[in-house]
């Protein structure tokens, strides 16, 4: 039966929202108003996107263009040309949810499912924008803008998706489905399918539980699944407030872990925290004192790097050689072994240092001239020093994140799988995201390991 279903419907992954299999091909394009009107009349679409059937589809931004290239919703399909001629577009046969191509198993090297969750205004959208936007804007990232690795995002989506991605419009839908395709060395294709969940669902406001959607999304497909909590660095003063929000998300994930009854799902799902807004951390004398005390060997350059000005790209230039020395390990070890209680300002300063160390790597990578010429990728795997540097940054981020939360009387992540959690530090600099694409490294690396 399963085989027959796969034959009839080439895309047999269940819809993450309704759980049903089966799709239909969408033909013809409609404008914003038309699509919203059609969707408002589609009760299952409304219900599965968390909307009240008695009201309607939320309106897009006031100054949104009434675009006329959105994938239509009619079923059966209307006569007409395809949308762009290159890709076919499918909606779930049951709930009419538009499923980006990345949600379909196909002839790909790997597929990765990412669920993004977190409280409102914590940077989920910014992170997704960084992942989904054209790589031309990714100057400060590690993976993209590379001849070796190309990213393609799916541009046809439901209402609001354009505005969510490109303008930071608050998502009025409970679930947003995005898709990105990674092509490495022109042959290795990785499908990244993501579900963005409205922040209100994790702060104790919404009654609806997203757990089923999360499990369905992460458990399906042959590749790995990533459970990403987007958590905001809000400074020591606001740590307790942020912690309260985080506890709700943590409890949601605790419940989720309990529901992961299948060993297959347990094994394939990885958990990570996208730590956002690190650019708001500020360097402090306390951080300098802590470094001089605990990492005397590298205190000189670290303090100077930490003290760089608000526009560190220029001021960091004299320190680019620091990346090549594989010296961050000393800082990572010091953070792991020291029993010092890091107070707020000291921790704040170390987080500011971490952000500058990341920028330093970006600067180094862009200037690197190797035996084969200029660095083709901003991140090279395995034996490359860049790999070690980035891994050290992530380990430092993990330590700082854990300490930040402990200092705020929170013990998250916790439990037996606490070591499984990764921390991806992110920030914004010069209107561009810094290292928002680390998850892509992990996704690609995960396929290789």
């Amino acid at each position: 039966m399963s085989f027959l279903s796969s034959f009839l419907h080439p895309f047999s992954l269940p819809c993450p929202l309704c759980g049903k299999k089966g799709t239909y091909k969408v033909r013809g394009t409609v404008d914003y108003d038309t699509l919203a009107t059609q969707l408002a009349a589609h009760a299952k679409w409304m219900r599965n996107h968390g909307l009240s059937e008695t009201t309607g589809v939320p309106a897009p931004p006031d100054n949104a263009e009434n675009r006329d290239f959105l994938a239509a919703v009619q079923h059966p399909p209307v006569k007409g040309d395809g949308l762009d001629g290159d890709r076919e577009h499918y909606r779930c046969k049951n709930c009419a949810t538009l499923l980006p191509p990345e949600f379909m198993p196909a002839d790909v090297t790997d597929d990765v499912a990412i669920t993004v969750a977190g409280a409102a205004r914590h940077g989920k959208t910014s992170w997704l924008v960084a992942i989904l936007a054209p790589p031309d804007n990714a100057d400060y990232e590690i993976v993209r803008r590379s001849d070796d690795l190309q990213t393609f995002c799916y541009e046809f989506a439901e209402p609001y998706t354009f505005d969510v991605v490109k303008r930071g419009f608050r998502s009025p839908l409970f679930y947003q489905l995005f898709g990105t395709t990674l092509v490495r060395r022109k042959t290795e294709v990785t499908y990244i399918r993501t579900v963005d969940i409205k922040g209100e669902m994790f702060v104790g406001l919404a009654k609806k539980s997203p757990n089923e959607v999360i499990l369905r999304h992460l458990g399906s497909g042959s590749g790995s699944g990533w459970l990403l909590v987007v958590d905001q660095f809000a400074g020591a003063a606001q740590a307790s407030e942020g912690g309260a929000t985080l506890r709700n998300i943590a409890s949601a994930y605790e419940g989720l872990s309990v529901q992961m009854t299948e060993e297959h799902t347990r094994r394939k799902v990885r958990k990570a925290i996208v730590w956002t807004f690190l650019d708001e951390a500020t360097w402090t004398p306390g951080a300098a004192a802590w470094i001089e005390k605990n990492t005397p060997a590298i205190a000189g350059p670290l303090v100077k790097i930490g003290q760089t000005a608000q526009q560190p790209i220029a001021t960091l230039q004299p320190f680019v050689e620091f990346v090549d020395g594989n010296q961050l390990e000393a800082l990572r070890v010091a953070l792991e072994t020291t029993s010092d209680i890091l107070d707020g300002p000291t921790l704040d300063g170390l987080i500011a240092l971490l952000f500058r160390l990341q920028l330093l790597y970006t600067l180094r990578a862009s200037n690197f001239i190797g035996p084969q010429g200029r660095l083709q990728t901003k991140f090279q795997y395995l034996m490359d020093q860049g790999f070690a540097y980035v891994e050290d940054c992530q380990m430092i981020a993990r330590q700082l994140y854990a300490r930040d939360r402990r200092s705020a009387m929170h013990d998250y992540p916790r439990g037996e799988n606490a070591d499984d959690w990764r921390v991806f530090p992110c920030g914004r600099f010069d209107e561009r995201s810094v290292w928002a694409d680390q998850i892509l490294i992990e996704a690609v690396a995960g396929a290789r390991r």
Binding site: T55, G56, P172, V203, L205
Partner: protein
């Protein structure tokens, strides 16, 4: 357990309830709040009357989009108001001020309590000029009725349309003004959009040829809102074809025409960027004069007689004693003659009863561009015969906005009657009002009246052809 509860919802790291309401209410209002305009002109939002999450409930709210610079997030919104039983907000328009003001817990609770008690609010909102033409449109259109607003000052059209429009107020639903269309499963009775439109020829024809609607609006302007609603009743229940006939049919002879006198007030406009608009009638001028006169006339007459007697008694006694030739000489130097003429002039300016009734009725001459043009033309004629009016005033009178024309006309009157102006001043907002008020003060008016009744009445009368 009260049936009516106030609420206040706002974005604060997510859409939340500040007080009252639940997240279910937030979800319910999301389609209305998402995408509301946040530009400087429209960020104050507008009213919303819609069914609640429960079918037995209805929501009366004021809802606005929050600018991104306030919350660092596009698409956020804020709403406050009252949730209560369906059909229980029939008088919501009388609470316009309380609803549209910035949200305060105490006031919103008081609003809920007033609905609970079945009270009416303190006042109807100001009546925009465009109401009659809009009603003509609504009564000749189909559901959902589209109300296009040009400026926030026209927001008051919404409650009036709800009150006098094709659907009974308690059954109507009305949405906030927005640019993007709402996609709702339950269509709103009145779908409000923001549009930069002017009156079409069809609309001009509609309003010009609909004496019934003009009369209904005039009734409401006179303060006879119940009468206006009663007059609307047959229209609401008529079939579409019959409705058009009724709208454009001449008024029956038995129906009393709208009062020829009206008292207009200048309504402060909430939005500073919009022009002030001359709006609603509160009380007929004639009624006011009659009521005032009935109470004070006997006393005043008695006082005047006493004063006259006290002043003239010695003269009369002297005249009795003196020869007739001396009487004439005394009269030529008597200031009383001038005072008397001044009083006459002033009373002629402000008393409609003594003015020549123009061909255009003072009831509705400003309601259509055609009649406005005729009045302006007559003002132009008067201006040409009044050489003391400065050029700036003349320019404003002939080419300015409507309010500027009114202000200029009054300024002209002040200058003409500078030495003994009656103090008729139009308290316009903005620079036009300030100029007029300054002119009144500089002309040493004995008193400056800030009501418009006499002012606009004078404008109406002064536009009559010079005999």
């Amino acid at each position: 357990m009260p049936k009516y509860e106030s609420f206040h919802l706002r974005y604060d790291g997510g859409q939340r309830a500040v007080h009252g309401g639940t997240y279910g209410l937030v979800e319910h209002l999301e389609p209305f709040g998402s995408g509301l305009p946040t530009d400087a002109v429209w960020r104050n939002g507008g009213p919303l009357l819609v069914g609640g999450p429960n079918k037995t409930q209805q929501i009366l709210a004021w809802i606005r989009g929050i600018p991104a610079e306030e919350v660092k997030r596009e698409g956020a919104w804020q709403a406050w108001g009252v949730i209560g039983p369906t059909g229980g907000f029939g008088s919501w328009m009388t609470f316009w001020d309380a609803l549209s003001a910035a949200p305060e817990r105490e006031r919103l609770d008081a609003l809920a309590s007033a609905f609970e008690r079945g009270d009416d609010g303190p006042a109807y909102p100001p009546m925009p000029q465009r109401l009659a033409s809009l009603l003509a449109d609504l009564y000749t259109a189909e559901v959902p009725y589209r109300i296009a607003l040009r400026t926030p000052s026209e927001l008051a059209l919404l409650p009036w349309c709800c009150l006098l429009g094709p659907v009974e107020a308690q059954d109507a639903t009305i949405g906030p003004p927005r640019r993007m269309r709402l996609n709702l499963n339950v269509p709103m009775t009145y779908d409000v959009s923001i549009a930069d439109t002017s009156l079409t020829d069809q609309q001009r024809t509609n309003i010009a040829s609909s004496p019934l609607l003009l009369d209904i609006v005039a009734r409401a302007q006179r303060g006879d809102v119940d009468g206006a609603v009663d007059a609307v009743w047959p229209l609401r229940n008529a079939k579409a074809a019959d409705r058009r006939k009724r709208i454009f049919a001449p008024l029956p002879a038995s129906q009393p025409p709208a009062a020829k006198e009206r008292a207009l007030v200048q309504t402060p406009v909430a939005d500073e960027t919009s022009e002030p608009v001359i709006e609603a009638t509160i009380e007929p001028f004639a009624d006011r004069v009659q009521r005032w006169g009935a109470a004070w006339t006997p006393i005043l007459v008695a006082m005047i007689l006493l004063l006259q007697l006290a002043e003239f008694a010695p003269r009369i006694l002297r005249r009795i004693a003196a020869p007739p030739a001396n009487i004439a000489a005394t009269d030529t130097t008597d200031s009383m003659a001038t005072d008397t003429s001044a009083t006459d002039t002033t009373s002629a300016a402000i008393t409609p009863a003594t003015a020549t009734v123009p061909a255009i009725s003072c009831n509705n001459w400003w309601t259509t561009p055609e009649t406005q043009a005729q009045v302006i033309d007559r003002l132009r004629q008067r201006l040409q015969a009044t050489p003391v009016v400065p050029q700036s005033t003349a320019a404003a009178l002939l080419a300015g906005t409507w309010n500027e024309r009114v202000a200029a006309a009054l300024a002209m009157q002040l200058q003409v009657n500078e030495s003994r102006c009656a103090g008729i001043v139009l308290p316009l907002d903005g620079s036009a009002g300030q100029r007029t008020m300054a002119a009144a003060r500089s002309s040493n008016c004995a008193s400056v009246r800030t009501d418009l009744s006499g002012a606009l009445q004078w404008l109406c009368e002064s536009s009559a052809p010079q005999s």
